[in-house]
């Protein structure tokens, strides 16, 4: 695609930024328009967005984008004026146009892309206009010669008596000009400033009605010279030629009045600076990484300070060093928080793209859905934002497809015809919690159980051991779909398991709760950032592990006597509940049952999707902020471990993946197998 001359890459970037904003705005607003068809402000906003796009894209030379925006603007204009009224047909045409616009916008990123065709979209939009049957304005050709009538003659004589010279002026405009009416007005304005217009062809009123072509004739009385007038008129853009003849030659000419130039131009500062800057995301990422390294080093220095203090106790220098270290630690913490907050973005960015999708699916499925968004201002790290969209789409699709019933079904169930889906985001400690709640038919645990058994994912014996809540959460297992019919939207048995895998790989969790007949709630919990996590360090079997604080319920001492065995598995009674126990050292194969350490044990209770498990460890060490380093590059993804981190003293710790640990235990227990989640045999070595 060729761009207009003089458009630099910076210009293009600026254009793209703004175009993206406009496109997003259109996306949200057009969907809103369907409901709020009588909201004039919304209408104006949509119109302006199309209008801005039209202008800017013409400026950068993206003619097709500009043309399409123009076609949309025409329709919007008619809607705005009340000639057309908002209908699903119009919304569809606008959305279709918008889709093409997005393709056109993408062409700017990949210049080799096949140029998108706007013909269909423009035709669809224009068809809406012809339906209005708007009478086309015909411009009548003005070929006549201007001849002053009696009234004009009288005025002319009066002007001449005042000593003015009458001129007959013919102005021809550029054949290409679309703006002759306005140009004619400029001619009128210019001439009125220096004299009196006796008569013109076409008249002022005719011009306003658009009845002007490329010739404009005026009879004017003025004190100015022919040259002055000529200069004045040729200064108007698109004026091709000016022909001036004195109408009567006997009046004396007067010197033109010099118009005092009022150029009291005071020098001004340059362009005003705004209060915000746009920064490349990569720079922020680099900054974040640097701060991450700084945090590691802070931990190391703190450690060093402690070692020195132990060794030299009250030594003055060491005390001063300690103070300085704690100062630096404080500053680094603040810095870390500041950098994190720069990277925070409101989830709105993702949420705003969803109403359109919900509308499209609902329309396709013939369902009525009221989509409510709450907490869109909740902020989260941009690395997390990027990962939010796909899971949300899957869950929303699931709600519309499987949750919300067809309108007739809802009415007969005594529910309002339109289903409600409520998307909510909020902060909960260091997590962002997003829920998708519908008031549909809910999930029958029975149906899930049956399906799981039918598909041989569970035996009928094992399935009965699951609580209803656990059974319902099986919908996240691959190969389990409960929709009675497979639709083209969701329900090929893939989808929710992908959601689960993706969310868990981010250190988050997803779960579902459902009341049959009343609705389903998906809950998605994600850490606010993926780069730094607070964790509890524990040691067991001679190795140090880190447990993310986000999954810890509590930690306590564990007496050997409190451990009981049920069907060969260790459990304990914790706060009145039976809690399955997991000995970390044995899970990872660092030690075995035969030389099990039963003294001075601690328990760390962790949770995942409503299931709690007690991790048995030897020692609780301390709580630390860990900079997560992925292990994938070195040893491949490992079950039970999400990553590693470097401690202040240089030791490497493994960060536990509680989700896969808990799932491992549950499945192990339910299937009665004794397969250990054997993961790492190589110990994380010391430096």
């Amino acid at each position: 695609m060729d761009l207009a001359a003089g458009i630099t890459p910076e210009d293009l970037n600026l254009f793209i930024q703004e175009a993206d904003e406009q496109l997003q705005l259109l996306d949200e607003d057009i969907v809103r328009l369907e409901k709020e068809f009588d909201n004039p402000d919304l209408m104006q906003e949509i119109f302006r967005a199309a209008h801005t796009l039209k202008g800017s894209s013409a400026m950068v030379g993206h003619q097709r984008l500009s043309d399409l925006a123009h076609a949309m603007e025409n329709v919007l204009d008619q809607v705005r004026k009340g000639v057309l009224s908002v209908s699903p047909l119009i919304i569809d045409a606008l959305l279709h146009g918008l889709d093409i616009m997005r393709m056109l916008r993408k062409e700017l990123d990949s210049p080799d892309a096949e140029p998108a065709d706007i013909t269909d979209a423009v035709a669809e939009l224009s068809a809406l206009l012809t339906a209005v049957n708007q009478p086309a304005k015909r411009i009548t050709e003005q070929t006549g010669i201007l001849t002053p009538d009696a009234e004009a003659q009288a005025e002319l004589e009066k002007a001449c008596q005042e000593g003015k010279q009458a001129y007959f002026i013919k102005v021809s405009f550029d054949e290409q000009s679309n703006w002759t009416a306005v140009r004619s007005f400029q001619v009128i304005n210019s001439l009125s400033a220096i004299g009196e217009i006796i008569v013109s062809l076409p008249t002022t009123q005719e011009i306003e009605e658009g009845a002007i072509n490329h010739l404009f004739q005026i009879l004017v009385a003025s004190n100015n010279s022919e040259e002055d007038i000529k200069e004045l008129l040729t200064g108007i853009p698109e004026v091709e030629s000016v022909e001036i003849n004195a109408y009567e030659k006997d009046a004396p000419e007067e010197a033109p009045k010099a118009a005092g130039p009022d150029s009291a131009a005071t020098a001004k500062e340059d362009i005003k600076l705004s209060h915000t800057v746009r920064v490349d995301v990569n720079r922020l990422d680099t900054l974040m990484e640097q701060v991450g390294e700084l945090v590691i080093n802070r931990n190391q220095i703190s450690q060093l300070g402690r070692t020195l203090a132990e060794k030299y106790h009250e030594d003055e220098i060491i005390v001063a060093f300690g103070d300085s270290v704690s100062q630096i630690a404080k500053i680094i913490s603040t810095l870390q928080q500041d950098v994190m907050s720069i990277r925070l973005l409101p989830v709105e960015i993702v949420f705003n793209t969803l109403p359109r999708m919900v509308r499209d699916i609902a329309r396709k499925e013939n369902k009525k859905v009221e989509f409510i968004i709450e907490g869109q201002e909740t902020e989260v790290d941009r690395s997390v934002i990027e990962q939010l969209r796909d899971p949300l789409i899957h869950m929303l699709r699931n709600s519309i497809d499987h949750g919300i019933e067809a309108p007739e079904e809802r009415i007969s169930a005594g529910k309002p015809e339109a289903g409600t889906i409520r998307l909510t985001a909020m902060h909960e400690q260091d997590n962002i919690v997003i829920t998708v709640k519908d008031d549909g038919k809910g999930i029958e645990p029975k149906a899930i159980r049956k399906s799981a058994v039918d598909k041989k994912i569970y035996t009928s014996e094992n399935i009965s051991k699951l609580t209803d809540s656990e059974a319902v959460n099986l919908i996240f297992d691959s190969g389990l779909s409960t929709a009675s019919e497979v639709t083209n939207v969701s329900g090929r048995g893939v989808g929710l398991d992908v959601v689960k895998t993706n969310i868990e790989s981010l250190g988050g969790s997803v779960s579902v709760e459902s009341v049959p007949g009343q609705g389903t709630t998906f809950t998605l919990t994600l850490p606010l950032t993926l780069a730094i996590i607070p964790a509890l360090l524990v040691s067991t079997g001679g190795t140090i592990c880190a447990i993310p604080l986000s999954s810890i319920v509590e930690a306590d001492k564990l007496d050997e006597k409190e451990i009981q065995t049920v069907r060969g598995k260790e459990v304990t009674l914790f706060r009145g509940d039976v809690l399955p126990l997991l000995r970390l050292d044995e899970v990872f194969g660092w030690s075995d049952e035969n030389n099990r350490n039963n003294e001075a044990l601690h328990i760390v209770v962790v949770k995942y999707a409503g299931t709690r498990v007690g991790l048995v460890v030897e020692e609780l060490l301390e709580q630390q902020e860990l900079v997560v380093k992925s292990l994938d590059h070195f040893i491949g993804a490992s079950k039970g471990i999400t990553g590693a981190s470097i401690l202040g003293d240089g030791r490497v710790v493994l960060i536990l993946d509680i989700t896969s640990l808990i799932r491992g235990t549950i499945i192990e227990r339910q299937n009665g197998d004794n397969i250990k989640t054997r993961i790492l045999t190589s110990r994380a070595g010391t430096k």
Binding site: L14, R48, S56
Partner: protein, 118 residues
């Protein structure tokens, strides 16, 4: 150095226009809305104004009316897109000195500014 105020809610248009003007030796004051334009006009006293027509809150026509109330000699050139002839005529009747059509032609913009401030 003469000062030109560029009023447009579309950021790209505004920046591009400001860029062209400053390259041609003008100081530029930017305003993103009619309301901003009114305040900026009184503070910065620009020599002339390029005023977009389609804007939120206070459109170009309203802004022109208010500007002329503040300064009857305000030199304002309207920026308009295709299909806004009627509005431009209204603006010219109200006292706008000139107009330029989007997409901007550099020569036209500079020409319009020169014409206004001589």
């Amino acid at each position: 150095m003469a000062t030109v105020m560029v009023v447009d809610d579309a950021m790209f248009m505004r920046k591009k226009c400001a860029q062209v003007l400053s390259q041609n030796g003008y100081a530029v004051v930017e305003a993103a809305s009619g309301v901003e334009a009114l305040t900026a006009y009184q503070q910065e006293k620009p020599d002339c104004v390029l005023l977009d027509i389609t804007m939120p809150d206070m459109d170009g026509i309203q802004a022109l009316r208010e500007l002329l109330k503040v300064d009857p000699d305000a030199k304002v050139s309207m920026c308009s897109a295709m299909g806004q002839q009627g509005i431009v005529i209204e603006a010219l009747k109200m006292g706008a000195k000139d107009f330029v059509v989007k997409p901007f032609d550099v020569a036209r913009v500079i020409g319009s500014v020169k014409k206004m401030i001589g």
